[in-house]
């Protein structure tokens, strides 16, 4: 009887929860295996939250909000928080690993004394009945060495390799009794164990398997019995065994006699990146220019595309206009083409020497006796071009939203204004426009924020160029903050400067936040003023 009372929605919900919980439980051992405590806690919290909300009847609204919240947290809040974290670290080329990883990489390095470098020899791998591996290293006819292959822990406790010329008969290798000679295939299958083993030749020298050859004899190399670096965790320093020097930690690297040992590791550097941003004249100089242009670019882009979009939608909003739909469809076309395609097409059209724009404008240049405009190569022409193209890309959106908003304005209001004796212009500015702004202005703010970070257009159309001649860093006249950040991130003095670039994005974030907050407050006032019309 119970089953009959289960509605379809309940069945679906419980099936979903069952699958969800199964996935949650399944992923817990995985996070444990990778020792990823952050994800473990995240999974547990999310899992408990979802079960709690959907199994009880107390949080009805939460059932709708929770999925959105989870997605927002994972795709908006988490990246933002992570970005903030990176901006406080030294994350850059040479410092991308954790300290433990860097030490592991360094401790894995072996070295070969200068006089033994480049010596290659054939190596034969044997296995006894107890599955222990034995190496035979054929250094030359006089030096045929045989012994048990041992791991790094046993190197200094094992017996040394012995000379066994008898293993070769007329240059042919004859495995001793009780041993099984491994073929190339078997060596490959055991390569994970073999790469940890060495044949100790004397106190300082060992032979290691270097190249497994499946088509012939495998190759060995000589190296020192000690690793190149040993980490001393008591003094937190590195010992270079080749030169016997101690390399202490200097900030985020080990330093051996004044030279940094690569790789270094990530550390928390506090406000260092922000300090650099504001104190370094190299960066601050262009930052002023770029910030100013970013505001101009975003503002003008919104205004121009809004003006064009509004103008077109007003014209096409006439009743009884023939082919109204076709016109509208045509004007929406630029919006239907991906922005990156348009940007690249425009780049070609704007080429000053053979682009279509200058070819078409040719007669006009001749008529008014003017030098052809060198599009994208001078400050003014590049900035104009960027704005023109962005207007082209942006107006269909504005056209769409204003068309929608215009149709929602009650016709009686305009008619009433007409009766009161207002002319067309008056009724537009006094009635239509203010009402339009109530619904459109949040979208304009959104568009401003979008254009503030319009990386695609700048990167593809002008690449930020033309260069600001004489600045200390590579920066161009049409670079906006985000494209400048990109240049800063990838073309730092020594490769990538992710930490520094993150700190610029945090500043951009703060700017956009402030502007949006102010504008939304202003919008609210608009709504209050016009709300009761």
């Amino acid at each position: 009887m119970i089953y009959l009372s289960m509605t379809l929605s309940k069945i679906l919900r419980y099936i979903f929860l069952a699958v969800f919980n199964a996935l949650i439980v399944y992923s817990i051992p995985l996070t444990l295996a990778y020792e990823s405590w952050f994800f473990l806690s995240l999974i547990v919290v999310v899992g408990l939250l979802v079960n709690f909300v959907y199994f009880t009847e107390k949080f009805q609204p939460m059932k709708w909000i929770l999925p959105g919240m989870i997605f927002m947290l994972s795709f908006v809040v988490f990246p933002a928080v992570y970005n903030t974290y990176v901006s406080f670290t030294n994350w850059s080329t040479g410092h991308i690993l954790t300290k433990t990883q860097a030490i592991n990489v360094l401790e894995d390095r072996v070295y070969t004394p200068e006089d033994q470098k480049g010596i290659e020899f054939e190596i034969y791998i044997l296995q006894d009945s107890n599955l222990n591996f034995y190496y035979v290293a054929y250094l030359d006819v006089q030096n045929i060495l045989f012994g048990k292959a041992v791991t790094n822990d046993e190197i200094f406790s094992t017996s040394l390799a012995t000379h066994e010329p008898s293993l070769f008969n007329n240059g042919e290798f004859v495995p001793p009794d009780g041993f099984n000679l491994l073929t190339g295939k078997e060596q490959v299958a055991n390569s994970s164990s073999l790469q940890e083993l060495s044949l100790v030749i004397d106190k300082n020298t060992r032979a290691q398997l270097y190249k497994i050859s499946v088509f012939g004899a495998s190759t060995g190399r000589l190296s020192s019995t000690s690793q190149l670096y040993t980490y001393d965790d008591v003094n937190d320093s590195l010992v270079n065994n080749a030169t016997n020097t101690i390399c202490p930690v200097v900030k985020d690297n080990f330093e051996c006699e004044g030279t940094e040992i690569e790789p270094g590791w990530r550390v928390f550097v506090g406000g260092e990146n922000y300090r650099k941003l504001f104190s370094s004249q190299r960066i601050r100089g262009p930052l002023n220019v770029v910030a100013k242009w970013t505001f101009q670019f975003a503002l003008l882009s919104v205004l121009l595309s809004f003006a064009v979009g509004l103008f077109l939608s007003m014209i096409l909003n006439k009743d009884g206009l023939k082919f109204q739909r076709i016109y509208r469809a045509i004007f929406i076309l630029p919006y239907a083409i991906p922005a990156f395609v348009s940007a690249l097409v425009w780049k070609g059209l704007l080429n000053p020497d053979y682009g279509l724009i200058n070819t078409w404008l040719g007669p006009i240049y001749d008529l008014i006796d003017m030098e052809p405009v060198k599009w994208l190569t001078t400050k003014e022409s590049a900035r104009t071009a960027v704005l023109l193209v962005n207007t082209w890309l942006g107006f269909p959106y504005m056209f769409l939203i204003t068309t929608g908003a215009l149709q929602s304005i009650p016709r009686e209001l305009i008619e009433a204004a007409k009766v009161d004796g207002a002319n067309g212009l008056q009724s537009f500015w006094r009635i239509t426009f203010p009402l339009l702004m109530v619904s459109i202005s949040p979208l304009l703010i959104g568009s401003f924020a979008y254009n503030f970070n319009n990386f695609t257009l700048i990167f593809l159309l002008s690449g930020g160029g033309p260069p600001i001649v004489g600045s200390d860093v590579s920066v161009g006249w049409t670079d906006i903050l985000i494209s400048f950040t990109y240049k800063l991130a990838i073309s730092g003095g020594r490769g990538n400067l992710f930490g520094l670039a993150s700190s610029v994005t945090i500043i951009i974030f703060a700017l956009v936040l402030i502007i949006s907050a102010i504008s939304f407050r202003y919008t609210k006032r608009l709504e209050r003023v016009y709300g009761n019309i």
């Binding site: 060198k374 033309p466 003095g493 020594r494």
Partner: protein, 430 residues
């Protein structure tokens, strides 16, 4: 009351699903248990027959190379008893993703990439040194230099590339040895443009600054970031020379796409670019020659080298090394790779095969032999921008005074001096 019972049932259902999801292994073990008890002694006594699951070598390669490599690895898989998994990867993404995936325990064992990544990857500790051993003697020196960083070699070079000069064989017989003759040839042919090569691109323009003694970084025994030679006498002379070529219309302002279509449509007589463009160039009857000399100095293009590298986060270091040296480096594999994705050979044995069969490839190889490898040190990141900017200023003749900084660039030598200064500042400022 009703709901409580219902919940109990749902919990049961849920836990049965959970059990299925994470208990798969135990269920299998239980099912197989009787088999092992039947013959336990035999399995222990014959260890060689219980082969462990085959090792897997994960190789990241760009799509074209992966396509070329995929049919070849079967031979190695059979001989070595391993699975080679060739993953077609976006070329640029290999560079960034080995640095994130490796430390996270996800990356490849072997990856094929460009030599100019080596400095960054080695500084970040994500690539293992690869001692080439006996293979080294077969490799052109430029390849080994390209993959050397701080005294270690980090990859096996399998292909090189460098730009040379395409010519429209219907209009001209060969590439002249001097720029003056090139200009004269264009005037004689009456084409709209003479030499096409992108303006805003330090790679294609390198011969214009480096042929008469200029250099990006001094390269005696490894690249030295403290010695920038973009504003030495030779570089300034080359920049002035380029300025002259722009002024007399030998090279014009264009981008890669523009240079390509101009050459394809027969509107430009010459096209300065690399062997990757051979398919595009075949729209016309083309030939390839050396880039004209600069006052008797041969043009020095940047040489790019592609190679196979081992990730330092691979748990199969020896196997990965063996895959490269014992299989990938063999001339059979190199030749098969060349046939499906022709790039200039980096090994002498392959070059000997290719030279006779493909004279155009030989021309590119000759051009590369005059060139120098692109610096592979991480500091190169601070070179591309300023160098491209300076060349762009010369190529577009955008001389003038900057109203913000008050700096004037009145000629080509100012432009390269400024670029050198920017690079030095960037390196000093970190």
């Amino acid at each position: 009351m009703k709901t409580n019972k219902l919940r109990f049932i749902v919990f049961l259902l849920m836990f049965s699903l959970v059990a299925v999801a994470c208990g798969g292994d135990t269920a299998d073990d239980a099912a197989e248990a009787p088999d092992t008890t039947e013959a336990p002694q035999e399995t222990l006594a014959a260890p060689a027959t219980t082969a462990p699951p085959p090792e897997v070598i994960v190789v990241w390669a760009e799509e074209k190379v992966a396509e070329a490599l995929n049919p070849l690895v079967g031979a190695y898989e059979a001989a070595a008893g391993v699975d080679v998994e060739v993953v077609a990867y976006d070329f640029g993404a290999i560079r960034t993703d080995v640095q994130t995936a490796g430390p996270a325990g996800e990356g490849p064992d072997v990856f094929l990439g460009a030599h100019d990544w080596v400095g960054e990857l080695a500084a970040n500790g994500v690539v293992s040194p690869l001692d080439l051993g006996s293979v080294a003697s077969d490799i052109f020196e430029v390849g080994v230099t390209a993959f050397s960083y701080a005294g270690e070699v980090y990859g096996f070079p399998y292909a090189t590339e460098a730009i040379a000069m395409y010519y429209n064989a219907d209009l001209v017989d060969s590439v002249p040895t001097t720029w003056e003759e090139a200009k004269a040839a264009c005037d004689a042919a009456g084409t709209e443009f003479c030499v096409g090569t992108p303006s805003n691109d330090a790679y294609h323009n390198h011969p214009f600054v480096a042929s008469a003694g200029g250099y990006v970084f001094a390269s005696e025994g490894g690249f030295d970031a403290s010695d920038v030679g973009l504003d030495n006498a030779g570089a300034i002379a080359s920049a002035d020379y380029l300025d002259g070529l722009v002024k007399n219309g030998t090279v014009t302002n264009t981008d890669y796409g523009g240079a390509l279509s101009n050459f394809q449509e027969g509107r430009a007589l010459f096209w300065m670019t690399g062997p990757w463009a051979r398919n595009d160039a075949s729209a016309v009857n083309y030939g390839v020659g050396l880039i004209p000399q600069f006052d008797g100095n041969p043009a020095t293009p940047f040489v790019g080298v592609r190679g196979a590298m081992v990730s330092s986060f691979s748990e199969k270091q020896v196997l990965a090394q063996s895959f490269i040296l014992d299989f990938f480096a063999t001339v059979e594999v190199q030749q098969a790779m060349y046939e499906s994705d022709p790039r200039l050979p980096a090994t002498k044995s392959l070059f000997a095969i290719v030279e006779a069969a493909d004279p155009i490839a030989a021309q590119f190889a000759a051009s590369a032999s005059n060139g120098i490898p692109m610096p592979n040190i991480p500091e190169m990141g601070s070179v591309w921008g300023p160098m491209a900017d300076a060349l762009n200023v010369i190529r577009t003749q955008a001389y003038g005074t900057n109203e913000e900084t008050g700096v004037t660039i009145s000629n080509a030598s100012d432009a390269v001096k400024l670029a050198a200064e920017q690079i030095r500042n960037a390196i000093a400022g970190g």
